[in-house]
Symmetry: C2
Subunit: 324 residues, 2 copies
């Protein structure tokens, strides 16, 4: 199980490798939100998202002999790049299984980060069988994207930094809004804050129609999304909360907050104008929640994680054209 | 005169007020440039540019009784916002004299940061006479944009941070590429590095056609730009190097590097895709120099300052459409 001890150990392993991303602020954001807002800019992490933390934590935790054989991951996005770079910097091979219709740039980036990319046809091939075959053949270790204790521990290092940086800013109590897919980042931060800033509370944020975590938290049991397509917030769309992450969130987090795609785009434009950072739609849902759904927050101060910035130029230009 | 002692003193006054901006990197940048590149992201500074440092350093250095009467500045851009916020946070009034045809958003932002904005008509009014009249009447202190020792000292704190952060990254010798208008940032960084990282050398960077500093360094005396309009790099267009800044650059900096507007736009797109930061055209010229004019660099490592991110959405969208 993921624990604060694992998060502290992960922080030691990440030191000098992961970036301590800044906690940004702007009086203009405070004016829009009607409260103080602080933005933990994980889009500035290596590979453009927090996923590098979990990738590094998992790869670095492996027994050296096991690690040397290599790692494998399924991902068409941020987890792929995080694991690929972590493996490359450890000098071990990585295999990333991606759908053949994934964006060419993401495939190229993952290859450029040193991974062997294996493409599969969504219509005709069984991704899991392909992965199992490759893993068995080459004795690769699977790095799951969120439901894996070392990955949760790596993401949780974000929470330790939030606690330190918020104290420097004089924040005494806050709600910590986190974009939530499978819940690796939210649950890791929740564990970190339970130990290091117990007056802070995580609030998972999701797009309308893909609010499996919000509904699961409301019902007390794991609920699934009706569909997995149709949101621009692709980075945080998962079938359901994880079996490891959900119990952590049920114990520690407040209610979920749900935002529209348009609000996510608007938050991207605000981040462009006021913070000078690039945020992808899924990475902007927590900022959107703080800016446009403040009535759902109890504490005076809000800390927001912008979890990733891997957005195509045309989507970003659309956000600016609509709301810039 | 500006000195390392003034820079160290300015750093102490800026602590807890200015942001220690991150030093970013990406393997993809290194691949384009053919060397290691580190990016000092001053676009993430308060008000979106390094100008807050100089504004804070100058305002905080004033005798409290003098400061209480207020400050005044001429600027249509980043200096206006830096001085306005520094004055506001000191609880003293600021008057910013701006041309009446300045972008509405910049006027609105400067007002929102607490300044009294006085507009003048470029065609019919004498800006300096207007400023002198207001200063005399209200006993305001003029904060010049670059040719002012305390402003140079404030900008120089960027150089102290570069020296520390580069050491953490294992950089032993480097050329430090800095967008250069009047030379406040370049000369401040040069003074800071002379004391704290003497194997580092500043290289001022400018757009084609507005390369007064490069030509002045080549001739050994102050040269003027032929014109002041027609570049998209508006933030760094000045008539000539400063009388205080130029002797510092002549003594300490290497040759200037000149880039095209299109290269600046290309560098903005690279910063979007690879670093997830928003850089304005003038703030991107040093990154453009490192990426596209590497043959003019001697050292293996390059450190680049992205000095500001206050760019309109349509200009940014253009950079992405052309090069994203």
């Amino acid at each position: 199980m993921a624990s604060i001890e694992m998060i502290v150990a992960a922080r030691a392993r990440l030191r000098g490798h992961a970036r301590r991303t800044p906690l940004l602020s702007s009086p203009f954001l405070n004016d829009i939100a009607g409260r103080r807002i602080f933005v933990k800019a994980e889009c500035l992490q290596h590979t453009g998202s927090f996923k590098f933390r979990g990738g590094w934590a998992a790869v670095s935790s492996l027994d050296p002999a096991v690690r040397a054989r290599g790692v494998i991951a399924f991902s068409s996005g941020n987890h792929a790049q995080g694991v690929a770079l972590a493996a490359k910097l450890h000098g071990v091979p990585s295999v990333i299984i991606m759908p053949s219709d994934a964006p060419k740039l993401k495939i190229a980036n993952t290859r450029a980060l040193g991974a062997e990319v294996v493409l599969f046809d969504r219509a005709t091939q069984d991704r899991d069988a392909l992965g199992a075959e490759l893993s068995a053949e080459r004795k690769l270790t699977l790095i799951k994207p969120f439901d894996e204790p070392q990955v949760i521990a790596g993401q949780g290092t974000t929470g330790l930094e939030i606690a330190e940086q918020a104290e420097e800013e004089g924040v005494r109590a806050a709600e910590v809004l986190v974009p939530c897919g499978g819940g690796g980042l939210s649950s890791g931060i929740a564990l970190a804050l339970e130990a290091s800033a117990p007056t802070f509370r995580v609030r998972p944020c999701e797009p309308y129609g893909f609010d499996d975590t919000a509904r699961s938290l409301a019902s007390g049991q794991i609920e699934r999304n009706a569909t997995l397509t149709g949101s621009i917030c692709d980075a945080i769309i998962t079938p359901q909360p994880g079996n490891i992450t959900f119990p952590i969130l049920r114990r520690l987090s407040g209610a979920g907050i749900v935002v529209s795609d348009d609000e996510a785009l608007r938050a991207m434009a605000v981040a462009f104008t006021r913070l000078k950072i690039v945020v992808e739609p899924g990475g902007a849902v927590a900022l959107a929640a703080a800016l446009f759904h403040g009535e759902q927050l109890d504490e005076e101060d809000a800390i927001v994680v912008t979890s990733g910035g891997n957005v195509d130029a045309d989507v970003f230009a659309k956000a600016l054209a609509l709301h810039g």
